[in-house]
Symmetry: C2
Subunit: 532 residues, 2 copies
């Protein structure tokens, strides 16, 4: 493992000219890391985006095959970092080696998935309408359209997925797949993990001789670094995973630019989970176990943690809740990722309990131990209370679940109607209850990006059909997914070519279709060349 | 023809409770129309959006077949309005019956195109990844994703296309095709045309028994009506065609909402047109005629009017320019659409000429005649002047073209590099010049939504491969087109269903695929049902 230097990487080269410094902190012990990082300066930020902009033109080094190879090389370099990467990531996050190893595997899977998709090529959404010179009153021109890279993309790393949404994570991979240079802003809790992953990227760039502008890595404990990045005139898009406050601040910054740019921010979500009477009756033991496990997974620091558990008020409900309490109390607990998350969680929990309408059934305290520990909490209220108080719509980011007891399905629908946009909504039903829950489903379908049946929302499958996003505040752009191959579309925009000489057309739009991609040609989807 | 009432249409019913009134004005004579219109009040605006929101749920009346039939019915009703529609539109716009008849035909073509696309169904972009229960360490879930309507859409009508971007125009048609109710804000220059087209919509709704919330029509001479509309909490998206100032105001309003919503604003564009030395030498006479005609079309009031004519400085250049001047002076001229456009055009022209670096070769004056007349203007400057003064980057919306004489292709590339986002960029080349213009093409491809060769940018073909949009300020959302079937995507968002009982899945995601739409199933595009 190459020693860590603590500098930013600007256009491929280390740079640390700033005067603000920070170290990462071990969440389990509160100990300070032994590498000092330097906040990127406005000059360095400008240089990073400018270097990206300079290479964001048509360049033979950035053709599809080269990009696919690059993604595969990053995957290999990431794997080659081996155990030391997991050790550093565990030191900075306390998420555990097992979880981090599986997260690394997911990261590698994502890189290879985008590589395969870029190599196949149909993602460019090619549409061809050929000319009709004889048409009256005016001839129909030849029009051919496909997607092109949008330009330099700023990626804000997610603290809760240090690898899968880290430097080599899904957002970077999607941007590179699209053909966009990445300026990555590292999460200040994980500078060492970020620097290590950055080594993997630089290694892959070196193998292919890619120019430095293809990747920059910025550090910054101060939010000003991120705001300065979003203000850069040559930046074309922003992706972000994190808190509502953080995402909205970047969204506002981007919207206020002289030339606004899109912000794909994946932010807060309550991820409501509804249980029907039939399902509760049939499966209360299993539900108690599954729901507790989903709330506790990764110390509740999942974007898709089920924060609201909407259950019918029945005799068996208390049994299920008792079982959930036992599961949660058996959990060893553990540290949260950083002080900010711990303090925000305590604050949001205090606000919820201060309403007087919510009971804390277990946990919610901060043990007198080192690090950012927190005892997982299960809260309980009624539909009537929930519907009467907006405070209860706040997210608790961490291992906290709020049970909402409902007298009937009408109350459940009322709870659903009260919710804002969500990444996910989950419904547990028994056989024969599809008619019963259809009204609820109709409501949830208008609010969520993904609907799950008889499962838990945590565990986001990386596949083409995934939708990870949703109406605000789940994300700032409800039309985009940050997981799966469709995530690449965030960083593409269409250009149409009219009556263009064949030799000036991009290869994927030429008659021959040598790559055999799927194209919509005169209204028919086909992989064939155009007839002569 | 049903008499015009001058009221707003709120959830299908006439309403005119406001106290601010206005009439349309004949641009050719300055005469005032004989129907008085009433600005929509905040209460009416709220009622319109609320009525739309109430019906924006799953409803069997809004299935694909019903929407396709609705679009076709609107087309028929619009045609049935016959000559009186053209007479009213001509009175309010002075665009002429011939142009308006062809615009009506385009509008009908658009409605039918969207109808066909909705009926076919593949636009929902269905993606299915089936379960792998045996996968380790965790089973792969069944995931199925498709696009759903985003909800109530506000459409701001374009003054320069009273029919094709009017009440029954492309934006409304795309929203209805997507399954979204429309709240249409009429352009204050064309309230009568808008009310007539609204009759066509209401007629089509009546035929099918659609609820009133499906369509509202708001009038307002005051910009406050539009801002109030964009602020409505239940609104989900905005589309707009018009000026940069108007579009940006709505964009800012939407971004500042507690819950931001997307704004698809198609705004200003210079539509640069480049002529190579070879092309000028070969075709100077034809170029003079075509360029003049494109600048003059519809009195220059096209989003895609070529505003910058970038030409090589050669002996033949003066001949071409002389011929252009003759064509422009032979043009009978005509009124602009309204006083605001005329006054803005005079102001922008004055600013341009005040730089001292631009010569007015012909026109640019306001004749002492009734109405909003203006003499088409041809301006000239050099690349050096153009590159030195930001004032010359301003749009002249109207029949004004600015010639930029360039000493060589390097100067042309410098001019291209200086430009902001554009709807279109046009290149005229002769045979054998493809190598010469490749650097220019690389620059323009990063700036424009559509590249045209050896033609003019005016005349936007309505087809699948069209891209009408571009980087800011051409549009507020460079990833969307407002023309062609892809325009429907602006009003859709994906929802994924995980492990969902077949009877609760939307029909298009069920195994059987009865509609035979194209779906991406486990990585393969197919119209077949899923294997048992």
């Amino acid at each position: 493992m190459t020693p860590l230097h603590g500098a930013n990487t600007i256009g491929g080269m280390p740079s640390a000219t700033g005067e603000q410094h920070f170290e990462s902190v071990n969440p389990a012990t509160g100990a300070t890391g032994d590498v000092t990082y330097t906040d990127a300066t406005p000059m360095e930020i400008h240089a990073a985006v400018h270097a990206a902009s300079q290479i964001a033109t048509a360049d033979s080094r950035f053709n599809r095959e080269q990009r696919a190879t690059f993604l595969e090389n990053v995957a290999r370099e990431l794997m080659d970092l081996g155990e030391p990467l997991l050790a550093v990531a565990d030191w900075e996050t306390a998420l555990g080696r097992t979880r981090l190893a599986s997260e690394r595997d997911r990261t590698i899977h994502q890189l290879r998935m985008f590589a395969a998709d870029v190599r196949e090529g149909s993602y460019v959404d090619a549409i061809i309408d050929t000319a009709e010179p004889q048409r009256r009153p005016v001839p129909r021109p030849d029009l051919r359209r496909m997607l092109f890279p949008i330009g330099p993309v700023a990626v804000f790393g997610a603290g809760n997925f240090p690898l899968a949404f880290g430097v080599c994570g899904g957002d970077s991979a999607a941007a590179w797949a699209a053909g966009c240079p990445v300026i990555y802003k590292a999460h200040p809790s994980q500078p060492q993990t970020s620097e290590l992953c950055g080594q993997a990227v630089l290694g892959a760039m070196k193998t292919q001789g890619l120019p430095g502008g293809w990747f920059s890595l910025l550090h910054g404990a101060d939010d000003a670094v991120g705001r300065e990045l979003v203000r850069q005139p040559e930046l074309e898009a922003v992706s972000f995973t994190g808190s509502l406050a953080g995402g909205r601040a970047l969204f506002d910054e981007a919207a206020a630019r002289p030339r606004p740019i899109p912000v794909f921010a994946e932010m807060g979500s309550l991820n409501p989970l509804f249980v029907t009477p039939g399902s509760l009756t049939m499966r209360s033991t299993r539900l108690a176990e599954d729901l507790a496990a989903s709330v506790l997974l990764g110390m509740g620091q999942f974007c898709t943690k089920p924060g609201l558990l909407v259950v019918p008020d029945m005799p068996v409900t208390d049994d299920m809740i008792d079982a959930m309490i036992r599961h949660m109390e058996q959990h060893p607990g553990g540290p949260l990722l950083n002080r900010r998350i711990r303090d925000n969680l305590r604050r949001s929990l205090d606000s919820t309990l201060a309403t007087g309408d919510v009971t804390c059934l277990t946990g919610g305290t901060v043990p007198d131990e080192p690090g950012w520990r927190f005892r997982p909490a299960l809260l309980q209220t009624t539909a009537a209370h929930f519907l009467a108080d907006d405070v209860l719509l706040a997210e608790h980011f961490g291992p906290v679940g709020l049970l909402i007891r409902c007298p009937d399905m009408t109350a459940m629908a009322d709870v659903a109607r009260r919710l804002g946009g969500q990444l996910t909504a989950t419904i547990h039903i028994a056989a024969g209850e599809t008619g019963l829950i259809r009204p609820l489903l109709d409501i949830l379908q208008r609010k969520a990006g993904r609907i799950i049946f008889n499962g838990v929302p945590t565990g986001v499958e990386v596949c083409a059909a995934m939708m990870h996003g949703g109406p605000y505040p789940a994300s700032s752009q409800a039309q985009a997914s940050s997981v799966g191959i469709t995530a690449v579309r965030r960083f593409l925009r269409p250009v149409a070519f009219q009556n263009t000489p064949p030799e000036l057309l991009p290869g994927l739009l030429q008659n021959e279709n040598p790559a055999g991609i799927l194209r919509l040609v005169n209204g028919e989807y086909t992989r064939k060349p155009l007839p002569e």
